[in-house]
């Protein structure tokens, strides 16, 4: 059972090292993003285009997915349909097993973490080697997990990373970034050249042509998708784009929003298999994993537009202070607060829609214009109406307040009671408030009493 956001956040807030690491990292990425977005004159038009492409696609998702399947098969690939994570994991394990491989090399993939692919493969006797630097750090660090969509080890600083490498890789390494990456490269290079099965996710999949797209910075993704004999890409069904030309919009929006770069260093685009070039077998596993249920919610489904850029995390004042682990999901931050409860079920993550002050900074930066604050409010309503997570005392208090505001007579009576420290309007004197904040003194005269006496009415 999960602790819930308020409790999980408390531990994170007390960790001074974490607060420093996060504050430094998020403010750096924020500034970079601001600079490179600022230089695009038609950024708002691009955002609108990105939102429209995604919205239109989701409306006819079934059609686009079947076109994608046809195109991938035409290009020599194999398509597997997975209803849930277990089916997707089984499909990957089967491909590895069919090739007699007890090891796979992996491109960083959030979806693989969402479905617990590494553990599932381990259960089938197959070791998954993470090749993204940050994912490798997490994998080498027993009991650790990702805390950011794009920068999974954002909660670690380089001194901590050097310690992990010394301990787990048995190498002498300083905490200089060049040294750390050299140590990782030496460790990984051998895997790239020897392991026969690669596993990836995808940023986009193009229905028209069957192309699969992986966007990355380190080049490990290029290695994993080109060197092995067999490639398996596990992709959420919401990642499909209708046309190849849609990439023109998305590949402008994504790097500027995520790493704050004009263009990311590596964009790998492939379709099926080609003789003498790259993997000889290509498998595309298309996963539902609760996504069609999300589609059924007319307000909440905009969350499926997400292209996982993580701009919303970097500007979120809540995320900046709690880090990702408090969200108890591979999808943290504002997008996680709307995605996780919808994918897992509201009763499995009922506190997440409240993990926001509704300040709106996330909506402002979202490259596909997901109105995260409105979806949070919508999901709060659904939690109240559809689950028992919010207690009876809150329901009673909100009901009483609603009756107070329903008429002038009840409202003015409650104001008179509040002066005596009683009644629904004095109920705000809650302990969680007063632990760190004073309450205002209740004045002798309300504004309306002054107005009536003074003049006027």
């Amino acid at each position: 059972m999960k602790a819930g956001f308020p409790q999980a956040a408390r531990a994170a807030l007390a960790d001074s090292q974490l607060r420093r690491n996060l504050g430094h990292a998020t403010s750096t990425i924020r500034a970079k993003r601001g600079r490179v977005v600022g230089e695009v004159a038609d950024w708002e038009a691009l955002r609108a285009a990105g939102a429209e492409i995604k919205e239109r696609t989701l409306r006819h998702l079934d059609v686009h997915l079947e076109r994608l399947e046809e195109a991938v098969v035409r290009a020599g690939g194999t398509v597997h349909w997975a209803r849930d994570g277990a089916e997707a994991c089984a499909a990957v394990a089967e491909v590895a097993r069919a090739h007699g491989s007890d090891e796979v090399i992996k491109v960083k993939s959030l979806l693989s973490d969402e479905i617990g692919l590494n553990d599932a493969l381990a259960g089938a006797g197959i070791h998954a080697v993470e090749t993204d630097l940050a994912e490798l750090i997490i994998q080498l660090s027993e009991g650790d997990s990702q805390s950011h969509i794009l920068v999974p080890a954002i909660h670690r600083n380089r001194a901590e990373i050097a310690q992990i490498f010394r301990r787990e890789l048995g190498v002498e390494v300083s905490d200089e970034p060049d040294d750390l990456t050299a140590a990782a490269r030496a460790h990984l290079r051998e895997k790239f050249l020897s392991v026969r099965v690669g596993v990836s996710g995808a940023n986009f999949a193009v229905a028209e042509t069957g192309h699969v797209v992986v966007v990355e910075s380190e080049g490990n993704g290029r290695m994993c998708t080109t060197l092995p004999e067999v490639l398996v890409s596990v992709v959420g069904i919401e990642k499909v784009l209708p046309r190849f030309s849609d990439l023109e919009v998305m590949l402008q929006l994504l790097p500027r929003s995520s790493t704050g770069e004009r263009m990311n260093p590596y964009t790998s685009i492939w379709s099926g298999v080609s003789d003498g070039d790259g993997p000889r077998e290509f498998h595309l596993v298309l996963l539902d994993g609760g996504r069609t249920d999300v589609l059924a919610d007319e307000v909440g489904r905009a969350a499926l537009r997400c292209i996982r850029c993580s701009a919303c995390l970097n500007v979120c004042p809540v995320y900046e202070r709690t880090g990702g682990h408090a969200y108890e999901s591979i999808y943290p931050g504002p997008i996680g607060a709307i995605l996780t409860p919808q994918l897992r079920g509201l009763d499995q993550a009922p506190t997440l829609p409240w993990a926001s002050s509704l300040c709106g900074a996330c909506y402002e930066v979202c490259p596909v214009k997901i109105d995260i604050p409105s979806i949070l409010v919508h999901l709060r309503g659904r939690v109240v109406r559809e689950t028992k997570a919010e207690g009876l005392s809150e329901r009673a208090a909100m009901g009483a307040m609603a009756r107070v505001f329903a008429s002038r007579r009840t409202y003015e009576a409650a104001q008179r009671m509040a002066k005596l420290g009683r009644g629904p309007l004095a109920g705000a004197a809650l302990r969680p408030w007063t632990r760190s904040r004073e309450l205002p003194d209740v004045p002798d005269q309300t504004f309306r009493e002054w107005w009536k006496k003074e003049q006027r009415g």
């Binding site: 956001f5 308020p6 956040a9 408390r10 807030l13 004042p317 809540v318 202070r321 709690t322 829609p353 409240w354 993990a355 926001s356 002050s357 509704l358 300040c359 709106g360 900074a361 909506y363 402002e364 409105s374 409010v377 709060r380 309503g381 939690v383 109240v384 109406r385 919010e390 909100m398 009901g399 307040m401 609603a402 505001f405 329903a406 008429s407 002038r408 409202y411 104001q415 509040a418 309007l425 809650l430 969680p432 408030w433 632990r435 760190s436 904040r437 004073e438 205002p440 209740v442 004045p443 005269q445 309300t446 504004f447 309306r448 009493e449 002054w450 107005w451 009536k452 006027r456 009415g457």
Partner: protein
């Protein structure tokens, strides 16, 4: 120049009950610039707290009440960015989602006449100097809903810059939320407090005597934190500074 505008004051339940000084100051400023103010006594609350806490189903009656009370107003003015945003940005969607198209149409018609105080003064009336004087060091916190929902921009700062005697100092990282967020401050009290602490640190770093903003709720939060810390810095609503004539 200005034609005589008649404004209906939407005071908000919070200012009415807890911060009447803000209401009196709002009236004083508006009258000083020649606005005729009336105050419909049938008003209660915009319903923002219910809506944002997941009790939107309790709010429809308040939407109808607001439209009934303020429907005939020439303009509606309120000293709260978030309550103005609730009416302008939230009401129509709530009416539509409830399937009440007639109410949605009424809201659509009324919403463009609803203004937050600084918007009314600067954007609608074209006034920046309201004849105030205030000889103190002041820093301004732009509240999230004024900034991102209403997009009031620098209207409050324009008004403050025109105040005689004021020593206006910029607040670093001003656009970060103070951590109030309505019931967020209680449901996630620890995170809210962490956000507040950082906001207080920025305010104290400016060495201002007064922190001002255009929303009583955020000021209640920031002011509650300053008082709890015995910081010796007070909060004042923008309207109170604009109403001041201290020399």
């Amino acid at each position: 120049m200005m034609s005589a505008v008649r404004a209906s004051l939407f005071i908000t339940c919070l200012a009415d009950t807890l911060f009447p000084r803000t209401g009196r100051a709002t009236v004083a400023v508006l009258e000083r610039v020649g606005v005729e103010v009336d105050f419909p006594l049938e008003q209660t609350c915009c319903g923002q707290m219910h809506a944002n806490t997941g009790y939107g189903h309790e709010v429809l009656g308040l939407v109808r009440r607001f439209v009934r009370v303020f429907g005939d107003a020439e303009v509606v003015v309120t000293p709260s960015g978030s309550c103005a945003a609730m009416v302008r940005e939230g009401y129509e969607r709530m009416a539509t989602e409830a399937g009440d198209e007639e109410l949605a149409a009424q809201v659509r018609e009324l919403a463009p006449r609803v203004f937050e105080l600084s918007e009314l003064l600067v954007r609608r009336l074209g006034v920046e100097d309201v004849g105030a004087s205030f000889h103190h060091r002041v820093t301004y916190h732009p509240t999230c809903h004024s900034l991102r929902l209403l997009r009031v921009g620098d209207a409050p700062l324009r008004l403050l810059r025109a105040v005689r005697g004021i020593d206006l100092v910029e607040l670093p990282e001003a656009e970060q939320c103070c951590g109030f967020g309505g019931t967020f401050a209680v449901k996630n009290a620890d995170v809210s407090t962490a956000m507040l602490t950082d906001k207080l640190r920025r305010i104290l770093d400016t060495r201002a005597d007064v922190c001002t903003a255009a929303d009583s709720s955020c000021l209640m939060h920031i002011g509650g934190g300053l008082r709890h810390a015995r910081a010796g810095v007070r909060v004042m609503h923008l309207a109170e500074i604009l109403a001041a004539e201290d020399a």
